[in-house]
Symmetry: C7
Subunit: 94 residues, 7 copies
Amino acid sequence: MTIKPLTDRVLIQAEKAEETTKSGIVLTSAAQEKPQISRVIAVGPGGMVDGKEVVMQLKAGDRVITGKYTGTEVKIDGEEYTIVRQSDVLAVVE
Amino acid sequence: MTIKPLTDRVLIQAEKAEETTKSGIVLTSAAQEKPQISRVIAVGPGGMVDGKEVVMQLKAGDRVITGKYTGTEVKIDGEEYTIVRQSDVLAVVE
Amino acid sequence: MTIKPLTDRVLIQAEKAEETTKSGIVLTSAAQEKPQISRVIAVGPGGMVDGKEVVMQLKAGDRVITGKYTGTEVKIDGEEYTIVRQSDVLAVVE
Amino acid sequence: MTIKPLTDRVLIQAEKAEETTKSGIVLTSAAQEKPQISRVIAVGPGGMVDGKEVVMQLKAGDRVITGKYTGTEVKIDGEEYTIVRQSDVLAVVE
Amino acid sequence: MTIKPLTDRVLIQAEKAEETTKSGIVLTSAAQEKPQISRVIAVGPGGMVDGKEVVMQLKAGDRVITGKYTGTEVKIDGEEYTIVRQSDVLAVVE
Amino acid sequence: MTIKPLTDRVLIQAEKAEETTKSGIVLTSAAQEKPQISRVIAVGPGGMVDGKEVVMQLKAGDRVITGKYTGTEVKIDGEEYTIVRQSDVLAVVE
Amino acid sequence: MTIKPLTDRVLIQAEKAEETTKSGIVLTSAAQEKPQISRVIAVGPGGMVDGKEVVMQLKAGDRVITGKYTGTEVKIDGEEYTIVRQSDVLAVVE
């Protein structure tokens, strides 16, 4: 089963807390907050969004920072994902 | 009886919970939430929407993910449907 | 007496509940909600609306679905009508 | 004394309840609501409004329907009037 | 001391209640509301406002009607004035 | 140390109450309100702001009137300043 | 590990209170407020943001003033940072 985001949307998955710690990054994480670092799973094709051309700059595998309360959560095969607009992604971590 | 969505609107119907489970997808579903995976029943013709040209990219039969509280619910012949704008559809499932 | 909607507005009248049932359509209708299927009584001429050209696609006699809380209600000769913008009409029923 | 509305504004006066009844129109009128049928007393010149050209389509003497809570009320020589934008006028009654 | 409004702003002063009465106009005036008829004291130069060209149509001495809660109040030499945008002026009284 | 406002921003400092009184201007000043007359300390370079060209019309030394709750307060070397957009300045006092 | 802000975003870090005091600047700082002077750590590439071209004018090392509640906080290697849009930066301190 494949999830294909539409237009400027991006499917991301929050990194597990352990992975986050190993990489040396610790995010303020009240129990009900989503971690802020996620891995990009799939990106939409971009194109016209609300009358403006959007070029996708993210790709699958990127590690990104998003706002804690951004996007729509979905659960697929027992894993939790989030779908956000590319413009809601704040930064890429390298 | 046929429902023809106008402009950029799409008529969708939430998949039954059983169908959803068989396909291996489980959505967080508090009792009062709509399931997030729906099947497209009919699509509008697109065209000018609020002064911007919209091209329809969805077609009847597509399985789509939408936000849980998106759109307007209607009940036809005892079945519940939802009418959403194409821009409120987050992703296609294949 | 004739009601002529201005610009992109449409005068509609909710179908009676009986008529609705005969046609096989049942809408969720809490007591304080308007039925969602209405008949178009008159349409405005379209034209420039907020700086954008609007072409009317509805005509008198069309049966349409609108949101439950959309538009302005008026009472004429003892009958209740609603005036909505064409963009608030979700679908046509045929 | 003359009131000259500016730009796309229209000076209207609610019809007296008696007049309304004689014409066969009855509006739902909770005590605190304004009647919805008014007579146009004066119209502004139109022109550029928020960067968009507005052409006035109403004229003094027209009978119009507006939303119940639309516009700004003024009291002149003991009579109550309302100033609305032309775009807030829903329909003309003929 | 001179107050020069910027861009599309207008300095107005509410007419005294006495003056208002003599002219035959009575405004609904709860204690905490500003009178709605004011005299224009000074007008800004107009020009580009939020990317749109604004031409000033009011001049010092005009008597105008504004919404009751519009603009910013200032007190100069013991007199109260209000600064409004020209677009917040509803009508001119002649 | 120099504070250089960006784009269309202006650094202003509220006049002391004494200075204000001497000049004959008295502003309604509840204890928690900022005085409305300020002196311009520094102005940004203008330029493109939200896609629109802004030309700065204020200069250091100007005395200006602003809304009471406009802008962001900063404290520098024990003095309080406010940073506002030029479009939030209502008038110049000469 | 490197944080690369996207589009018009800027990664900033609040100056320590001691550093702030030494430089002679004191900001009103209720316990729950962020200091208002920060150092720029990294800037995005600019480009099209919501259909408008944004040119970055800040660079790493700049000391900037931002609103107290602006942006998204992230914690990296035990240090707290904030990601803001360039348009949310009010002024540069030199």
